[in-house]
Symmetry: C4
Subunit: 238 residues, 4 copies
């Protein structure tokens, strides 16, 4: 069986989505890529999380051709592949319908950076894609979902944007590995919740200034980061 280690990482990332309350039933999916092999490991379609094992995951090449696995891959595979091709630094992707992030996607509003929790992870607002055209929807829909994400990120600091809201759909997040992609899915849901409450308290609340935003983002990311114990920096926030 190919890529035993990555299979286990992808399984664990999928289960993290469940543990953090980000998915209902079989909704959602996480994948990982082995860049040297050009192979992607992804959740199969419609298999309950509690029955998932590393063996049930599906391995495809970068074009989506199944290399190992008896089940159909997640139907969102085509979206993942577009992102892996566009962003070489990405090692894992997660997609959920987590409820507050999805509500922002449904409202078609980017999530403003209202505080340092957000600034610790996103070096700008959480962007929302354009709505897809009827042509994009009737064509290769899942692949076009990937393209609409890539287009939206051209306007942003893509390196400082570990996730996005697909308009009227829900969040996609990514990271250097599948575990960090799932971690960002949980963080994004928390940011979405806090931004929702913030607007409820003060409808005209303003985003943080750039000095505070940069301070928090850069003390956790980049060469001058000083958070954590000198490893797994992105997971630290105390």
């Amino acid at each position: 069986m190919l890529l035993q280690g990555l299979r286990e990482q992808v399984l664990e990332a999928n289960l993290e989505l469940v543990r953090r309350g980000l998915v209902l039933y079989t909704f959602g999916n996480a994948s990982g890529i082995s860049r040297p092999d050009g192979l992607v490991v992804i959740k199969p379609s419609g298999v309950p999380y509690e029955k998932m094992t590393p063996e049930l995951l599906v391995i495809t090449d970068i074009e989506g051709k199944i290399v190992e696995g008896d089940l159909k891959p997640s139907s969102d595979l085509a979206t993942h592949l577009v992102l892996y091709k566009a962003f070489p630094a990405i090692g894992g992707i997660a997609h959920t319908h987590s409820e507050y992030a999805t509500a922002w996607a449904q409202a078609r509003r980017p999530i403003p950076c209202f505080g340092t929790t957000h600034a610790d992870y996103f070096h700008g607002p959480v962007p929302v894609t354009a709505a897809m055209s009827d042509h994009e929807i009737s064509g290769e829909y899942e692949e076009n979902t990937g393209h609409v994400i890539v287009r939206a990120l051209q306007e942003f600091d893509a390196a400082g944007t570990p996730g996005i809201l697909v308009a009227n759909h829900g969040p996609f997040t990514w990271g250097p590995d599948p575990g960090m992609a799932a971690h960002h899915a949980a963080i994004l849901e928390s940011l979405a919740r806090m931004a929702y409450f913030t607007l409820g308290i003060h409808a005209a609340a303003q985003p943080v200034g750039s000095a505070l935003h940069d301070k928090h983002y850069l003390r956790k990311h980049g060469k001058n980061a000083y958070y954590g114990q000198g490893k797994d920096k992105d997971k630290d926030n105390q």
Copy 2:
């Protein structure tokens, strides 16, 4: 004992309502029908969920006459029977007072389709019935609740509407079997929650266009569906 298999399905559907946090105390009920026998299995009235067993469920004929069982059936039985008669494709029904769906019912507002999670399950908004007249209320109230549902569905794609909000009351959902009726109850509550949050972020949020709505609904339903592993299609959403 009649219909052992259906009794177990109905028990399981009732317990699913509890597991998904859709019912408080003895609120709510689920039933199933055996079309060949013309018999309905339903939760007894006022029995705590944790004490329920297949044997305690009540079996009636399609007119509500008890065929097997020592307990009184749920007082909503008459509503279920009207729906079973009106919609021959229905094999199970669930009723809850789940809090967000009930709030939409209390606000007497249909739930707009703001995103693909909704479009995956409902081929239109989640409808809300008309208020019942004083005459309907003082007469055969529970039976008339069924009639007001049937009337509301005449204006909708009934096949693409696995649930409804009874005005000032709460949701009823259905499906090909009791398990899917309970599944739809959980989905409806999630949709209700996300639509509530969506309005909180942007009061003038617009429903999705018909191209996206159709795309999502039809990739999971009907002869061209391509979701899941080719079985239990309605339960897949990844």
Copy 3:
């Protein structure tokens, strides 16, 4: 040890407040009265729920004099005693700071009856008391809290009002026994939550008409009730 049975009922009612998520730390309290003995069993002040036993509960007479018990009774005892004197049909009382009911109390707004869940339990809105005067606050505060409740109930169908919101404080509920008082505390929190969501969906939502309100209230209460299995009627709602 006096009143072993009632001690166990009161303990169980207090623990039900915890299980239903209605209390934080040692907040909240439940009591019961033995009418033949004129004795009240109440939670001691400041004892963690997980350490509470029937023996630790405090028994007082109707004037609040300790008859049995080494600990101080809940400081809300005086409020309970006023209610027991004013309403001879009450056998148990519960007080919580459950968050949605408390928010309505803090907003000093009665909870309108927006739906049948509410109508199943309250034969009118959930009332809110007047604010207490400085004189009432600086005097026998806890006893005066009872008096302000009694005054508020003079304007309502007291028999059909199993709870109230004390302005800027929180809910008190009652019932024929301590268990039903705690049950009503949980129901009230659910009603408060659903009414809050209802207003969020439609700020001008209207209460249900009297025909529907009466239908639901009276099918569960009074001599023509037809819910449940002919016992514990108030606990049934399916």
Copy 4:
């Protein structure tokens, strides 16, 4: 190993933040001070709560110099030290990103005292600091966070203010020991939640009057307090 008892208290306070749902991943931190020794025990940076032991905590002197411990202390240590120096009565500090309190901090609105739960703990509103200047942010940021807190408290009854919201960041709470600091973090989140709901019900809701505020605060604090069993008064509220 130094300060075994305080290490255990600080560990327990950190775990209480987890149990009460106030922290996500490794967010948040709690510390304690031994005044006679002039030593502070604090959570290490970026260590998962489930792996934390008394031995992994870090001990520093009041200037932040590590006295015992192999790991880096929480990067918020400098903030804690400023507070310990400014307020000699404080024995423990907690910092979380709990979601409702953080939303108030993000909205830069003090939490009004809408009810007695709040009045039981805070002898005024929950204050929010001024935004930090670019100069303060680019300088010793964490230390300056402490200074901005101290400045904000000069306008309040500091003794009656066991916590504060740092603008666009989140809450800091304190108490006579680490356990009470964590307790106040949980209380603050509950107050933040109830105040949020209160505004949702009635946007023009008014704070309680001073008579009620004083009554509740003073029956739990100070020499005339009469709550609880005569010990741990601050933890009682029934």
